[in-house]
Assembly symmetry: C2
Homo-oligomer: 210 residues x 2
DNA sequence: TCTAAAATACCTGTAAACTAGTAGAAAACT
DNA sequence: AGTTTTCTACTAGTTTACAGGTATTTTAGA
């Protein structure tokens, strides 16, 4: 029986990282780095016409965020395994990635050896999370910070609030009553489980909602 | 005359980036990647006993921040040229790096070719900033956002404000009068040139003051 | 030691934010 | 077509934030 290589593609907007992955994963005879992309649309164009086993996915791409990409890949190509790769160890992002089908998540401070291990393990159907990530996921079980779903309008209001614009001026901008803005603001504070605008801004920035 | 290679060292806490730089810069016959480090202390240990032309310096290292490293290198080894390399295009960080002696600054989305060009140019005594960075530096001339100096107490209050704690509770925590907290808060808002707490929080996060 | 800077505290007034409840109209979903 | 969600808007009362001063006591630098 002929050994099939694991077909891997890399999506990262840093050419330097791509080159690093190419040279180090290329050394592994069981892994075939088919192609590398710097944005999401190129990735999807490729997925349309090729079979792929594992996608190594940077969470921060210019044209689409990692969570959305995960969701779309999982929906359209459920056989494709996703490994998140990012500088950020933000629990909410990691959890969202996992919820949307990522089978693994690594920080960029991993060695290429560990990455290769992860690819193999995930390709076998298991999951893989680096030590630090495991700890984060474990911790976040206790404080079950469900990411609340915000409506379109609420997101709009949130970003304006986060810019420090006051209620009456937000109302002016959105051409609605200040009272309505107040309501949205109130609902946001309630949904996000905070108690004032300052915390709301912090939250929004942390969860990259703005 | 024998051609001397440019002696370069790379400091980055991401092994993947290091491998990428190694493989791509290694291909350039005029550049000698002497060594790579993942933290600042290893870097300084090496500088003590070796002559180096150019340091490629990631701004985010585990043990020391980029600005501090720049300052120290410039002071102790003024002949060593520094090229900042980072994911962040935060104007205040870039400006601080330049102020502290960085001769170039690139975002991690550069190609290795551009990086090589930068190394050569900087080694010749010129400076090099990638297009995006040039734009940022140019923009920041107009809005001369001098980073205001905050006092110790102000920083304390700022981080508490940023956590969304209200004035009376901050007062309780710091065991001072709420009126004093109000004064600090007001001074902060004035110093940072913003108009409310929400903007203050945003600012503080952006400038990594908390 | 003198002095400038920082931290502390207070007053007054206005504006905005937060709390709590209600409720009709418009979209979206089934 | 019917139900649910979202967006909209209102009343009314409380709390906190913001702006403009002023002033005393520490702390730290020259």
């Amino acid at each position: 029986m002929k050994l099939e290589k694991i077909k891997v593609i890399v999506v990262d907007d840093h050419p330097l990282v791509i080159e690093g992955l190419r040279s180090s994963l290329g050394a592994d005879s069981t892994i075939d780095v088919m192609n590398c992309f710097e944005n999401a649309s190129d990735l999807f164009a490729f997925l349309k016409r090729s079979t792929v086993n594992v996608v190594i996915l940077d969470v921060n791409l210019p044209d689409m965020n990692g969570v959305e990409i995960c969701e779309r890949i999982t929906k359209k190509y459920p056989h494709v395994k996703i490994v998140g790769l990012s500088t950020y160890n933000d629990p909410s992002i990691i959890k969202q990635m996992v919820k949307n089908g990522a089978k693994g998540y690594l920080l960029k401070n991993v060695t290429s050896k560990e990455l290769a291990t992860a690819i193999h393990q995930i390709h076998r159907g298991q999951s893989y999370f680096s030590g630090e990530i495991q700890k984060i996921l474990a911790d976040s079980i206790f404080d079950n910070n469900e990411i609340p779903k915000l409506t379109r309008r609420e997101k709009e209001v949130l970003s304006l609030v986060a810019e420090g614009i006051t209620t009456p001026k937000i109302a002016e901008k959105l051409i609605i009553s200040p009272l309505t803005v107040e309501t949205h603001r109130r609902n946001l504070i309630q949904k996000m489980g905070v108690s004032n605008a300052a915390q709301l801004v912090k939250m929004a920035i942390e969860q990259r909602l703005i």
